[in-house]
């Protein structure tokens, strides 16, 4: 993976110093909260309901065991012993004190990490394919370009006060695993017919209040020009994006208002004198950064370890895990292992300090000391020898990391929700827990097969509900109760689509039953080879809607109400706080 040189280290160290002084000025009253807000937001620090939340950047989701151990240290020393991995491959700590944050940044800088631009109206962490470099369908490894873009966007002087936040994702496989259609800029690094590397550039995708699938603005930007081309997109957005209404301020609204052709014309006009200018990438620089992403020292091995098959036949749990959580690797004899952070009953994406240290040890022993964080809030060991799978499974089971549910219904994406976040209308994590407990039965889950369920506590869509096959959104109603809209038909990847709401919203306790009913219609209607999304696309919303609203929910409401209080957490101390 990429390692800092003296320039990277100096920039991050100077950032710690600058931020420490900003905090000092805030604490002394020299800066008002209003003035401090954009400064702390450029650094991932949010003021939430109970405490400050700090979001730490994990560039394109790639992390070393040493860095993961630092997260464990931060969790113990400054937080309450756990952290939350996010849909943009970052980690958040939810219970921090403002005065500790400069020390946390100094700790992070000591392991080549930072929290630069993890929030605020600037270019955010660049996200990428969690299987980059090891996927069988990879066309070009996106990681060197993700790192080059990280450096380019870090403290870019012109684009720190954009109309709104700006998210870039980059994928390099035939299948998009980075949700590039749902980003402000989506990049697919690819090769043209002459074998030259370049980028298909999508612009104006995004979720939030107005979900839009990104439009292609250029079919092929040669690699040399990607930085200047992205610069021109940002300059057009910075000048013309709306600033009068934050809900209309994302680039997708501008692209829609101008039309993609006019937007492209403006970008190309801006780009005309930048093309081939000083900002153009050099092959020296690409080669330098690529040198950090060469293959680790793989052994010469073969697939189909006979002992694996034996053990598979003996252990149902292992065989479930193998089929669900282990993915094919491009090198014979190796496998990609997804460690599930979605154990039913736990908060999706949460990991304790002990788990972080355990996965760091597993990475050292089984995967060249590296880990990835997925946008579905799980962890990945990308380079595991197939002959180590049994031992790895046994060891990670001890740390509750082997729930065989990757891609299944209980592999839920969830935002932190109203327990933590001032924006949310409703709780997300407790709902995810209740739903996953409802579908805990693995045989049932495996019978249902692949389906994605994404939960956001409000329309801002941090839980990416629009691109879940089933999406759940917390909505606001007058009586301050929690209500949830349910939508179906969303998808990410090459066939991205935005889900549609099925009808009037539900109470917290009705939602699990709603999901049951949706699944019931799918199981009733599916053909042999169909996943949930295929059936929705074939038969449409009507049969689902009809069944969900056909009968009332009274009995289920009572049943669940026995297990949990239904007080909205937003207005008082939450009844549920993870792990204590």
């Amino acid at each position: 993976m990429y390692r800092y040189d003296e320039y990277d280290q100096q920039i991050v160290d100077e950032r710690v110093k600058q931020y420490r002084d900003q905090v000092r000025r805030r604490l002394s009253g020299e800066l008002t909260e209003e003035e401090f807000l954009p400064l702390r937001l450029q650094n991932g620090l949010y003021m939430q309901i109970h405490a400050y939340m700090l979001r730490i950047a994990v560039p394109y989701g790639l992390i070393s065991s040493k860095q993961m151990r630092m997260f464990a240290h931060i969790a113990r020393k400054y937080d309450r012993g756990y952290g939350h991995f996010t849909t943009r491959q970052n980690i958040q700590f939810n219970w921090l004190k403002l005065e500790d944050t400069p020390d946390i940044l100094a700790d992070l800088a000591s392991v080549e990490m930072h929290a630069i631009q993890t929030s605020g109206n600037c270019v955010r962490n660049i996200t990428s394919d969690e299987f980059a470099g090891v996927a069988q369908d990879e066309v070009v490894d996106p990681r060197p370009y993700a790192e080059i873009l990280r450096q380019w966007s870090t403290f870019h002087p012109e684009f720190a006060y954009l109309p709104r936040k700006f998210k870039i994702a980059i994928s390099g496989g035939k299948e998009d695993r980075a949700a590039i259609y749902a980003h402000d800029i989506g990049l697919a690094v690819t090769k043209n017919t002459q074998g030259e590397v370049g980028f298909r550039v999508l612009v104006g995708g995004g979720l939030g209040r107005t979900p839009i699938i990104g439009s292609e603005i250029c079919e092929f930007v040669p690699w040399q020009h990607i930085l200047t081309y992205v610069e021109s997109i940002l300059r057009v957005y910075n000048q013309y994006g709306r600033r009068d209404n934050k809900y209309k301020a994302r680039i997708k609204i501008l692209v829609k208002a101008l039309g993609v052709d006019e937007f492209r014309r403006k970008v190309e006009a801006d780009w005309a004198d930048l093309k081939d200018g000083h900002g153009t990438l050099t092959s020296d620089e690409v080669n330098r950064v690529t040198s950090f992403f060469v293959d680790p020292s793989y052994e010469t091995l073969t697939d189909h370890d006979p002992r694996l098959n034996e053990f598979k036949a003996d252990s149902r749990s292992f065989s479930n895990w193998l089929s669900c959580n282990v993915k094919p690797h491009r090198i014979p004899g190796y496998a990609i292992v997804v460690l599930s952070l979605k154990k039913p009953g736990e908060a999706p994406g949460d990991a304790t300090a002990e788990q972080m240290e355990a996965v760091a040890d597993l990475a050292d022993r089984y995967s060249f000391g590296e880990l990835r964080i997925t946008h579905k809030q799980n962890l990945v060991l990308a380079d595991v020898r197939q002959k180590d799978l049994v031992r790895l499974w046994q060891e990670s089971t001890e740390h509750e990391l082997t729930t065989p549910n990757i891609g299944m219904l209980t592999d839920i994406i969830s935002c932190p929700g109203a327990e933590f976040c001032t924006l949310a209308n409703a709780r997300s994590i407790p709902l995810a827990k209740v739903i996953s407990e409802c579908f805990e039965d693995l045989d049932y889950q495996h019978d249902i097969g692949e389906v994605t369920l994404n939960i956001s506590g409000c329309v801002n869509a941090c839980g990416q509900h629009h691109i879940g096959n089933i999406g759940i959104t917390g909505v606001e109603k007058k009586d301050h109760d929690e209500w949830y809209q349910v939508s179906i038909g969303g998808a990410e990847g090459n066939d991205s689509s935005i889900s549609k709401i099925i009808g009037p919203s539900f109470t917290f306790n009705q939602v699990p039953e709603v999901i049951q009913r949706l699944i019931h219609v799918y199981l009733r209607e599916r053909t042999e080879t169909e996943c949930f999304i295929d059936t929705v696309r074939r038969i449409g919303h009507a049969p689902f809607k009809e069944h969900v609203y056909a009968t009332d929910f009274v009995a289920q409401e009572e049943k669940v109400a026995d297990k949990h209080s239904v007080e909205s957490a937003q207005y008082e101390i939450p009844f549920y706080s993870p792990r204590f």
Partner: protein, 176 residues
Amino acid sequence: MIIKNKTIVADDWTVLRLKEQDTAESAIVASGKVIVPLKVWQAQRETLQQRKDIGVWLASDECPEDLKGDIHKFSVVAVDFPKFSDGRGYSIAYNLRARLGYKGELRAIGDVLRDQLFYMQRVGFDAFAPRPDRKIEDAIKGLSDFSEVYQTSFDPALPLFRRTQRKGNSTAGTVQ
């Protein structure tokens, strides 16, 4: 007092801001060194261009291209930041320098605070009028927050990877 060329200096320019009852045509431009709004310049160009002591300032929603033919007439051009979170002025400055080739003083006015100064100097500002309720001696420290940067802008013209020989991975393939 303003910050100019990284030092605190006395300043004898005044910035004309239109009052509600003023129009660009009717606004009275006092004698002496005055930085007038772009609209006033456009409306009173015939008389104002007779004077040597006129600067012009752009609001954040105005286009630097509107000054295209006139840009070299000014020794001071200012860009207004109505709120520090309004980042349009950074692109305006970049375009004034890089596209229009403006070489004179480029001054940031309005909601200008210490923590923006580093970015502002990089897109081409060389003069800053920090908000008067803050100490200018503190504000000037913002210019030296960082000693190195990655990307090109107006300053520096070359990105880090064209300015220096950076080290690649000598231990390619192994993880420490």
